[in-house]
């Protein structure tokens, strides 16, 4: 087992700041973390058919990592739809579950770090919140700012929300993290947004394409519920996350096609 480098004085407990140095720390026997991740893969196998229907693609499963891509069905003209990889992640389970897994968005072809094609919005009582933050202070890469993910817990703004307070709920488990990503970055992809700007001849016509995301709860048929009880699903149209700044944040080239 490699020796742990000396900790800097005054460093708070918990998962380390991201970076090459943290990868060499070995605080949990490798067999333990491997065993826990193997159990995750066994559970995945049990639900594999459902996950496939959801568009969860397990691209790679190593002793301490998993790579998962998320497919969304994007409607085009008429009744045609195309599957689009809207997000692809690598989860590193080093020192799990003393540390939460580390999440990196990757390119599904090269497996190198890359920005995802969509944002990660969700409707909350406080309004629409985007969990995709564009630059982690340690890596400079986009990260998913949700409990159960190492980049959340080692972010300076979340030092008061320790991983160990979430560990017992399974917040770092493979299926739980995939559920959050799917809800925020694939299931809510409702179509393709095309913007055409007719500008003076010197500039020309500009066409922008982006994946459109919306609140699917508004598009679901209401469940029959007893009189006087509320429902968390509505009966209207899918509501785009318009006016939240999320549309502007979508990259025009982020179509995945």
């Amino acid at each position: 087992m490699p020796e742990s480098p000396a900790e800097p004085a005054g460093r708070p407990p918990g998962p380390p700041r991201a970076g090459p140095a943290s990868a060499s720390l070995a605080l949990v026997p490798v067999e333990v973390s491997r065993g826990k991740l193997a159990a995750e893969f066994a559970d995945w196998e049990t639900n594999a058919a459902i996950y496939a229907r959801r568009g969860w693609l397990l691209l790679d499963c190593g002793p301490l990592h998993a790579e998962v891509a998320f497919l969304a069905t994007v409607p085009l003209v008429g009744v045609f739809t195309i599957p689009v990889v809207t997000a692809c992640v690598r989860l590193d389970y080093t020192n799990y579950d003393l540390w939460p897994p580390s999440l990196t968005f990757i390119d599904p072809r090269t497996r190198e770090p890359a920005s995802p094609a969509v944002r990660a919005p969700a409707t909350t009582p406080a309004g629409v919140r985007d969990a995709l933050i564009d630059g982690h202070p340690d890596t400079g890469r986009p990260f998913l700012c949700l409990p159960g993910i190492r980049e959340y817990h080692n972010h300076p703004q979340h030092t008061g929300d320790d991983w160990l307070m979430h560990r017992a709920t399974g917040a770092g488990r493979l299926a739980v993290i995939c559920e959050h990503i799917w809800q925020r970055m694939a299931r809510n992809v409702v179509g393709l947004r095309v913007t055409v700007q007719a500008l003076p001849p010197a500039i020309g016509t500009q066409v922008e394409m982006a994946l459109a995301q919306g609140d699917l709860a508004a598009a679901q048929p209401p469940l029959p519920v007893p009189l006087g009880e509320g429902s968390e699903v509505g009966g209207g149209q899918a509501e785009p996350y318009a006016g939240t700044g999320l549309d502007d944040a979508m990259r025009p080239d982020a179509t995945g096609i």
Partner: protein, 100 residues
């Protein structure tokens, strides 16, 4: 043996649906069989699934119950009103909070 149920005015036995429903609840990725009374709420399903999975003492409100296609179920809904079928798989995950 005659099927259980009540007799109609014509004397025929009208079978009534079983008062229990057997579900599979996938708690944080691990499947657990749960038998529930259809007259109880989905909150009871969540509590039972949490108990089955060893998450004893955790409030159901901190968890989200969803269908296979990801639709969020209201835990105040009664089981018989939620449109669930025998053997259906539901997914239970800890709430992620607002994020960001």
């Amino acid at each position: 043996m005659a099927p259980a149920g009540r007799r109609t005015t014509k004397g025929d036995v009208m079978p009534h649906p079983a008062p229990f429903l057997d579900l599979i609840v996938v708690v944080s990725g691990s499947p657990h069989p749960v038998r529930v009374d259809i007259h109880q709420t989905l909150e009871h399903v969540v509590a039972e699934a949490l108990r089955e999975s060893g998450n004893v003492g955790q409030p159901p409100a901190d968890w989200e119950l969803r269908t296979e296609d990801g639709m969020l179920l209201n835990q105040a809904t009664r089981v018989d009103a939620a449109g669930l079928r025998e053997g259906q798989t539901l997914f239970l995950s800890p709430r992620a909070g607002a994020g960001g």
